[in-house]
Symmetry: C2
Subunit: 279 residues, 2 copies
């Protein structure tokens, strides 16, 4: 029997393990609403944005292990109430799908506690993305409340500028991976972010962090290498990854068939992930 | 004649220079509403929080070069509409005071553009705090729209964990200072964050970045050393710093005299900053 959402809270890793198993998928669907990319005929109000996203969620939920709403896209629209509603619907209608709040928070003491309230009480996320620059004590208020997905090696073109600086011969992103896999993990359930644009770095990270889950953005519109990422990051259990695609799925069609097209793109991506995963 | 707010936008550095000159103050008042710290008799609704903050702003505006609302404290309460109203009031009623949105954003490409919309269009900030971990390309969408205040050496106990790792004999926070002072500054007006809990690091940063403004949190409730921070960070012009105190001012009294007490604490802090500044 399923645990009812909101009443009992499994650990992030427990929840994610169940999501991988039930969905048979390592696809994470990113929910990044851009007003000028909505399908023709969709209005531009925040209610229209919510309706669009609820259609996407309904069309793809059985194909995904996780949904990942990105808060900037809601904040820019003043659509926090709609984000609350979206998260509540995901938790209620799809209790076996992991809900990641992509917020890239990072702040100290009391302020981190307030961000944890936002992520876990307001939006009911299973885990939240966090920036590692402030160190372990800044992550603790999140770790004591839920899962933390720490930036390690991001997918942007300039990611290497700081992240690949060498500290005693080891690039900074591997120092971050070590910090999260040891000190952060002592306080709660963690995962890492490594972009699909950097599959060799993903392989290095996997080699250091055991079975720690890794969120891999950049496989869709950003052009990251899906097959190389799966090969580099999959665990011996054939899981361990959340391969995240946002725009390629959300905006697969700009016509009235957007939900069908989103489902087809999600299906195609799930299949490509499976094909790249060793049996 | 003053430029009308919202119609013309001076650069962040130009605005801040005017704020220092007109206020004769390097005090930055942080606006971090904590529901359980509000004065006795204040209600707990988001409207009550807004009314409290508007009283604080009115009581301290002539003593400060900047106000710094911290978004986590509004996000945890679902008080984004109240934050919009607070920011609008600061810009309209106190056009010579700099408005910093303390959000510590950090994300890539399209997402950074959406966070810039949030900071500059929705909240009308002059500048926004940004985490440096993602590098220069992630900062550009902010720099093209307004000021950026980059985390360099934060005030939390574990700040040194990553920030003091040595890269070719230079601690990471100085590499960040260099990156912001050169590459980021080529795209717009920057500042840095260095906590008052680390005055010797503040002196090292000042020695590398010329007159770049430095936001110094931690002088109030966090117990940072105000006099040592001023001595280490002030420029030859006798400015260059934003010394930020939040809780010590906001919660100077928990009685009905909270606004008078906040003003007295702000006055005391401004005086202590002046006393520590070389003539």
């Amino acid at each position: 029997m399923d645990a009812a959402p909101h009443t009992t809270t499994p650990t992030f890793h427990g929840q994610l393990g169940r999501a991988w198993e039930r969905s048979g998928s390592m696809l994470c669907v990113g929910l990044d609403p851009l007003p000028d990319r909505l399908p023709a005929g969709t209005g531009s109000s925040t209610a229209d944005v919510l309706a669009f996203l609820l259609d996407i969620v309904a069309a793809t939920a059985d194909l995904a292990c996780a949904f990942k709403p990105q808060v900037a896209h809601f904040a820019a629209l003043g659509a926090e109430a709609e984000l609350e509603r979206l998260c509540r619907t995901i938790r209620t209608d799809h209790p076996d799908v992991t809900l990641l709040l992509d917020a890239k928070r990072g702040d100290i003491g009391t302020t981190a506690e307030r961000y944890a309230v936002e992520a876990f009480d307001r939006y009911h996320a299973h885990a939240v993305t966090v920036n590692p620059y402030l160190g372990t004590d800044a992550a603790r208020p999140f770790l004591e409340r839920g899962g933390v997905v720490a930036l390690c090696r991001t997918s942007n073109p300039g990611a290497a500028e700081l992240q690949s600086l060498e500290v005693d011969g080891v690039p900074l992103y591997l120092r971050v991976a070590d910090m999260v896999a040891t000190r952060w993990s002592a306080h709660g359930d963690c995962a890492l972010v490594v972009g699909a644009t950097a599959p060799s770095e993903l392989g290095e990270v996997r080699a250091r962090v055991g079975d720690l889950p890794i969120l891999v953005p950049g496989i869709g519109a950003q052009g990251g290498d899906l097959a190389a990422s799966v090969a580099a990051g999959v665990t011996t259990a054939g899981t361990g990854l959340l391969l995240s695609s946002s725009r390629a799925i959300l905006y697969a069609s700009d016509g009235p068939d957007f939900a069908t097209a989103a489902r087809a793109e999600a299906e195609r991506t799930r299949h490509a992930i499976r094909a790249a995963t060793p049996a």
